[in-house]
């Protein structure tokens, strides 16, 4: 069986600046993959490329065996990829619950929107996710009034609510304290098995807490792949990245 996601020799060229060079990568269904690398390594560009926000200059992307390289964004989403943005991409004037309901909406035809009723099944699923992300007591407040960490969890909840097969989480712990980071790692691990998850981050304590198969990106190219421990032990990775990242985190 083909893997859930396969990038084949993807290159992205921004007017002469190569953000990604010849990147290949596969991800199996319901698996976890961690993507690390220093600033400007091309992590976010990789994410953008998968969901069709940036078009590759060369190479192709297969999802469930189908080439999605040329599809419009909403078509890619419909096939089951959902992304969490670096800055929280929540809908600030909607309540927490409305955020989840909008994300979890099954029938997306606009002409079905002229009703105040929500199917019981969707409601139940949203309540369930609300519990998973631990925001039950913030259910009806506008998302804008959440604390920073809560916004990140809400967005993870929204991504989960779409029931996508592949979740792209771009720096889910950006700006979080150690305690919240730990909770986020637990939250993500609880998703594995139901979704495949690709996590982008550079906080090593978080990466270690996730402890999954890791790919290191450097200057738009894959530098190394392996378990967190293997990456830890790699001299080349240490040289370009870990040493600096340690300083950053500290």
């Amino acid at each position: 069986m083909s893997p859930l996601l396969a990038l084949e020799n993807v290159t992205v060229d921004f007017d002469g600046f190569k953000a990604l060079t010849d990147v290949s990568l596969t991800l199996e269904a319901n698996a976890l993959r961690i993507l690390i690398g220093p600033n400007g390594a091309g992590k976010s560009t990789l994410c953008d490329t998968i969901i069709g926000r940036v078009r590759p200059t060369a190479g192709r992307i297969l999802f469930k065996g189908e080439a999605i390289t040329a599809l419009p964004e909403q078509e890619i989403v419909k096939r089951g990829i959902c992304r969490k943005f670096q800055t929280p991409g929540i809908l600030p004037s909607l309540s927490v619950m409305e955020n989840l309901l909008v994300s979890g909406r099954k029938n997306r035809a606009w002409w079905r929107a002229f009703t105040t009723a929500t199917p019981a099944q969707e409601m139940a699923r949203a309540e369930e996710i609300l519990e998973t992300i631990g925001l039950q007591d913030r259910r009806d407040v506008p998302a804008a009034s959440l604390a920073h960490g809560e916004k990140q969890w809400l967005e993870i909840g929204m991504v989960v609510a779409t029931d996508a097969d592949l979740l792209l989480l771009d720096e889910p712990t950006a700006g979080m304290g150690p305690q919240d980071t730990q909770r986020t790692a637990e939250l993500i691990l609880s998703l594995i098995g139901r979704h495949a998850v690709l996590v982008i981050d550079h906080d090593m304590s978080f990466v270690e807490a996730l402890n999954g198969f890791t790919t290191v990106l450097h200057q738009g190219q894959i530098l190394k792949e392996g378990s967190v421990a293997e990456i830890r032990a790699d001299a080349a990775v240490e040289a370009v990245y870990l040493g600096r990242a340690k300083d950053e985190v500290a």
Partner: protein, 350 residues
Amino acid sequence: MKPALPITLLVLVLGAAAPWLISAYELSLLGRFLAFSLVALGIMLTWGEGGILSLGQGVFFGLGGYALAMHLKLEGLDIANGDMPDFMTWSGVSALPTLWRFFVNPWLSLVYVVLVPGLFAAFFGWLVFRRRIGGVYFALITQALALAFATLLVSQQALTGGFNGLTNFSTFAGYDITSQGAARVIYLITFMLVVAAYFALRWLLATRFGTMLRATRDGENRIRFLGHNPLPYKVVAFTIAGSLSGIGGALFTLHAGVISPALVGVVPSIEMVVWVAVGGRGVLWGAIAGTLLVNFAKDEISSALPSLWLYALGALFVLVVSFLPGGIAGMFSNPRLPPRLLRRRQEVVE
């Protein structure tokens, strides 16, 4: 925020009783300002809830107004025998243009009042939104549209009456519309339509459509990456606003007895936005209150101190937007739109 039930009832009773409470002149003012408030409700829907700022609502107002006015000009004419509206004579027209033949039937014309601005808004909105043109770009394009529309009306004198516009109506479907009794009936129709529009929009905003529209305003890209297509929500909201403006324009034409290019161009269109800004862009009743307040103030101030009015209007734009983004309604508590939300960087173009 919804006003408390007793206040709602009081306003409804006072509004319905107005023809017997105030003078004929005051009633005519109230009637035409209520007609304006339908436009404001539309702007509230698109701008307040949808984040789409149109500086060209005068176009739809004009389409509705002209649709009705064209019919009213044909009432009582013996079209079969070559009768034409008076302005066509001095514009050098020899036979009634085909376009005008669509407006012979009074009831069909009423349908056009809703349909023509609605369909034009839908088409225009679709053309622009589908290329993801929004924010400031959309505001500028709609302003250019208002200019082009007013210019076109003036230049196609043989079809539109040109700069003079269309005036001097006497009957609708055979009924005299100039008498004092008719003025009361027209007022009551206006009032009922405003009330109906208010409650219809209140319902609409409570539906999932309302949620999706706000979601589109909050993060158009976000909902796109959640698998929703924001286009229909924007187009539908803009279409409803267009139809509401059209109905407002038709009612205004009845109240004022005139529709002309001076009422549909760049300046009137942007003034319409200020009614909503003053009233409160996040609250439905604010749009109506703002329209009535600004227009009654204009009526009072501009007669006494015409030069002051323009300073006042200019200052109103600057001050309300800078210091009172929630408008009058925003001064009352408003849980739906926390103040910081209004400070959010609005989407420009993607």
